[in-house]
Amino acid sequence: MATPNNTSGENRIELLQGTLDMLVLRTLQWGPQHGHGVGQAIRQSSADLLLIERGSLYPALHRLEARGLIASEWKASDLNRRAKYYRLTAAGRKQLVAEQSKWKLLVRTIARVMRPA
């Protein structure tokens, strides 16, 4: 199977339930992006370890949009194609902050539990 990256399946990380929304919000913090771009950005910033299924990504985008955390508009992309660009809303920014602190707490807590005795 010809895949655009060389990461083998074994090294990939299963995404924790509920974290995809946070990752999407985080990615959009850098500026408006279309769906494909969001997926690529997450993959690149995770050094190809996180491969987001589009079957999850697009529902997540639409879910966030329905909740008012992100907004969308159609714009010409860099390659001069019409693409749907998503951007953070004020509510989304707030949500991101909240999720980030929740996430940090979770990581710290789990790390404490998992610390070698």
């Binding site: 199977m1 010809a2 655009p4 279309h34 769906g35 639409h62 879910r63 329905a66 194609r81 019409r82």
Partner: protein, 880 residues
């Protein structure tokens, strides 16, 4: 809503574009890393996963508006119905018949009971006043009583009097009989009727007796007699040979205050004597021949008004004990001859409505069993959908919507059917010499009714099958296995068959019973032989004859007609029995004490006849003699009575030679003959007293000629009779000419129409239950194909297979029959009161219904059972 729809469309294309954009970018990346274009496109599609599923998930996130969901379900339902047109047609047809029958009856109920009087302002305040003294049943009051009630009461804003008059309208020789109302001056004002043209009768037109030769035409009268001529206002018209002026025309929707009597013309009450020749006395307190309608004062209910009017009634009874003693007043909604027709009509219509509801119930169980069978057919589809994760609620909703579509289509067809029936009814003219209108226009209420019935039907009778359908055990259903599930003897469908049989038996039993009783009452002796009698009526007063000239005319006319070749015998009578206009009289027997109160005086139907009447009518003379040449003008007053008169009023003692009078101060008459008792007012009446007096002694200007024809049908004797009369007076207006059988059509009409409707409903129930049984049995056999195949493969004979199928059917039908007959027995008790000459537990009826139902059940089972015996074991085993 529309906007919402467009927004969704937009979102759909957006989503498509977004996905396409992603796929394109992905494929480009793959191409850049060295794959061919085609490979890349395939790969990115493969990687993307299930696009429709993704879209479906995203769509859910947008949330469906209820309208879109409905649209989707409707499309689904439509597709699903189109896939099984037979089911859809059968279901809709049975519902259409059930709802059509129901909606037609409802439109009649609506027209005569629910709708206020057409064309009347605030009709709900209008009441009809019924004065009851002794035995009168019509809502009749006398004019003096009317005046007292009008002037003394404080509960009505007004009270108007109405008389019914026939009038001969037009030029001599070109006159036409029209029915009209004589109304008091306040009539139109009280009802709030505004003229369509000209003006209506006002209080000033009812001041001087005989001084107001004016008339108002109803819209139909104007159209019918005067062709809607625009110059009618102020026109001079001959009425009974006298010149009347047309004042105006009433609006199109106004038919007077009686639903079954649409007058062509309205006269002033002051002209009563001129119009009826003094036969209808305005000053006699005991002459109860007028109707009265009043309008309740605001805030006063009917009960309170009634008790107030009864107070006045008691005053009048004290003041005039001879005329008004024991008088009771009852108020009722107007339109149906006061309380007289209302009770029977409500009873009749309620019975019809009940029966049509039962027909609907049969249609509904039919629908439910079809739905159940269908649910069985769709078992696999349902299981697949459930397995793929469809919610049960969604499936139930879709099934209900599908049912609702069937029901609404069926209901629409039913409403059309009702519309057709009621318009046929409106176009039909009852065979009577009265301006009757039978109109039950379907209005919005009828459609709402049909809509409501359809919806309730679909939800009520569709829910159970839908619940059952979605309760599928997935694994066996998916394995396509129909026969391995444990064979259950009583399935929900089976209950439906039993219920259907039960209802049909009940319905059939009741209709057979009632039809039989109606036939009995039609065959019961009516006291004369109507077959072979020709008749023609005329009123000499309307032609301006005085009494001596009238007597002469009647005598010469009888002579001439008796000599006509086709006529065997002929006689004159003032009213033919059973033609709705039969007067009665109070009876005072000589030697018996005079009752103190008018209400205790017995009454008898009164007829005035010429000699040879009983011979012509073929009424049996029991004792004494007929009237003959001895009974001349100014001669000894004599009378002939019927056997019921002798039995009831003379306590069975020999009547010949006894004397009675029609008033305490009237001259007594001697009884010279006794004839058999017949029917005089309607066919279902109990034996009623009647007496006949000679026309020679008590002259009547209005008379009906009856002639028994010899060897020719009555209708062919009419032209020569007409000629004979015209020879005497070329201008005379003859009416109600025809055979007596035709005249009696009306009397026989109500029971006949009832019999026809009941038979129709019974047949409808039979057809419905036959299709129901057939459907369920056919379905059961198709479901058991494999089982039967196995049985036959291991050696079951055709007879055994037949027996196994038939046994099942027999159990269902038998149970339904037993339950139905039990219910029929109970229903018979309720019917007992209206049955005539038939016992509610009539064993023959039971046997007939049992046989019919058994026959239908057998026929409906036979075809599926035969199919079962023809199953080829090899094919059956391979098939599934």
């Amino acid at each position: 809503m529309r906007w919402d729809f467009w927004r969704r469309k937009r979102r759909e294309t957006d989503l498509d574009d977004e996905i396409a954009h992603d796929l394109a970018l992905d494929a480009e990346e793959r191409i850049r890393s060295g794959a061919t274009r085609q490979e890349s496109e395939w790969a990115s599609r493969r990687d993307f996963g299930n696009v429709p599923l993704l879209k479906e998930g995203i769509r859910e996130m947008w949330g469906w508006s209820s309208l879109e969901r409905l649209g989707r379900d409707l499309r689904y339902g439509w597709r699903s119905l189109r896939k099984s047109p037979l089911f859809a047609t059968m279901a809709m047809l049975s519902l259409a018949l059930g709802i059509g029958a129901n909606a037609s009856i409802f439109s009649v109920i609506n027209a005569i009971l629910l709708r206020p009087l057409p064309g009347v302002e605030r009709g709900s305040e209008v009441v009809s006043l019924n004065e009851n003294v002794g035995g009168n049943t019509l809502p009749l009051v006398s004019y003096p009583d009317y005046r007292d009630f009008r002037d003394r009461n404080s509960v009505l804003t007004g009270l108007a009097g109405i008389g019914f008059v026939p009038a001969s309208v037009g030029q001599k020789g070109d006159s036409q009989r029209m029915w009209g109302f004589t109304v008091t001056g306040n009539y139109f004002e009280l009802l709030g009727v505004k003229p369509l043209a000209g003006r209506l009768i006002q209080p000033e037109d009812d001041k001087v007796r005989g001084g107001h030769p004016v008339m108002v035409l109803s819209y139909t009268g104007w159209q019918k007699r005067f062709g809607g001529a625009s110059n009618i206002i102020g026109a001079k018209v001959q009425v009974n040979g006298r010149e009347f002026t047309v004042l105006g025309v009433t609006p199109k929707g106004f038919f007077g205050t009686e639903l079954f009597f649409a007058p062509d013309v309205f006269f002033s009450m002051a002209m009563e004597k001129e119009l009826e020749g003094g036969s209808n006395d305005l000053d006699r307190r005991s002459n109860r021949t007028f109707f009265a309608v009043g309008r309740l004062k605001p805030g006063i209910g009917m009960a309170r008004a009634e008790s107030a009017l009864n107070g006045i009634g008691r005053q009048l009874a004290e003041e005039y004990p001879q005329d008004d003693g024991g008088m009771k007043i009852a108020l009722s909604p107007p339109g149906l001859a006061g309380a007289f027709l209302r009770g029977p009509i409500i009873g009749f219509v309620a019975a019809l409505f009940g029966i049509s509801c039962m027909v609907l119930l049969v249609a509904c169980t039919n629908l439910a069993s079809m739905l159940l069978a269908r649910a069985g057919d769709k078992r696999k589809e349902t299981a697949i959908r459930l397995a793929l994760g469809a919610g049960r609620g969604v499936l139930i909703r879709q099934l209900l919507i599908e049912n609702l579509m069937v029901a609404l289509l069926g209901g629409a067809a039913g409403a059309l059917l009702a519309l057709w029936i009621t318009s046929a009814l409106a176009a039909w003219h009852p065979p009577v010499d009265l301006p009757m209108i039978v109109s039950a226009p379907a209005d919005i209420r009828v459609f709402l009714f049909a809509l409501g019935v359809s919806t309730v039907t679909a939800l009520l009778f569709g829910l159970l099958p839908a619940l059952q359908a979605t309760k599928t055990d997935l694994v066996p259903a998916l394995k396509n296995d129909a026969a391995t599930t444990r064979f259950r003897y009583w399935h929900l469908r089976d209950y439906m068959v039993a219920a259907q049989v039960c209802l049909s038996v009940l319905l059939l039993f009741c209709s057979v019973l009632v039809v039989k009783s109606l036939r009995r009452s039609l065959e019961a002796p009516i006291g004369f032989q109507s077959h072979g009698l020709a008749t023609v009526s005329f009123d000499l007063n309307m032609q301006g004859y005085d009494e001596p000239r009238g007597r002469e005319f009647q005598r010469r006319m009888l002579e001439k007609v008796r000599q006509l070749p086709g006529v065997g015998s002929a006689a004159l009578v003032d009213n033919i029995p059973l033609t709705l206009s039969v007067p009665w009289n109070s009876i005072y027997i000589e030697g018996k004490p005079v009752p103190k109160r008018a209400s205790e005086v017995p009454s008898a139907y009164a007829f005035t006849i010429s000699p040879d009447y009983f011979h012509t009518m073929r009424t049996g003379l029991i004792s004494g003699r007929e009237f003959d040449a001895r009974d001349k003008q100014g001669g000894r007053p004599v009378a002939i009575v019927n056997s019921a008169f002798a039995a009831r009023l003379l306590d069975g003692s020999s009547p010949l030679g006894r004397r009675f009078s029609t008033g305490p101060t009237e001259k007594p008459m001697e009884i010279v003959g006794v004839v058999e008792t017949g029917k005089y007012f309607n066919l279902t009446e109990q034996a009623h007293a009647a007496f006949w007096t000679p026309l020679e002694i008590s002259y009547k200007s209005k008379a009906c000629l009856v002639a028994r024809t010899r060897a020719i049908p009555p209708a062919s004797a009419l032209p020569s009779i007409r000629r004979a009369v015209r020879d005497l007076d070329p201008y005379i207006a003859l009416f109600a000419a025809g055979s007596v059988d035709d005249q009696l059509t009306w009397t026989f009409f109500a029971p006949r129409i009832a019999a026809i409707m009941l038979s129709a409903f019974g047949m409808l129930a039979l057809v419905l239950s036959a299709t129901g049984i057939y459907g369920v049995m056919a379905y059961a056999v198709s479901r058991r194909t494999r089982e039967i195949g196995i049985r036959m493969a291991i050696g079951a004979t055709q007879a055994q297979v037949l027996a196994s199928v038939a046994r099942n059917a027999a159990t269902l039908i038998g149970t339904g029959l037993v339950l139905g007959l039990g219910m029929a027995l109970a229903a018979g008790r309720f019917l007992e009161r209206i049955l005539y000459g038939v016992k509610p537990g009539d064993p023959l009826t039971f046997a007939v219904v049992f046989a019919i139902m058994l026959g239908i059940g057998a026929a409906a089972t036979f075809l599926p059972a035969r199919r079962a015996t023809r199953i080829d074991p090899m094919q059956a085993l391979r098939q599934e």
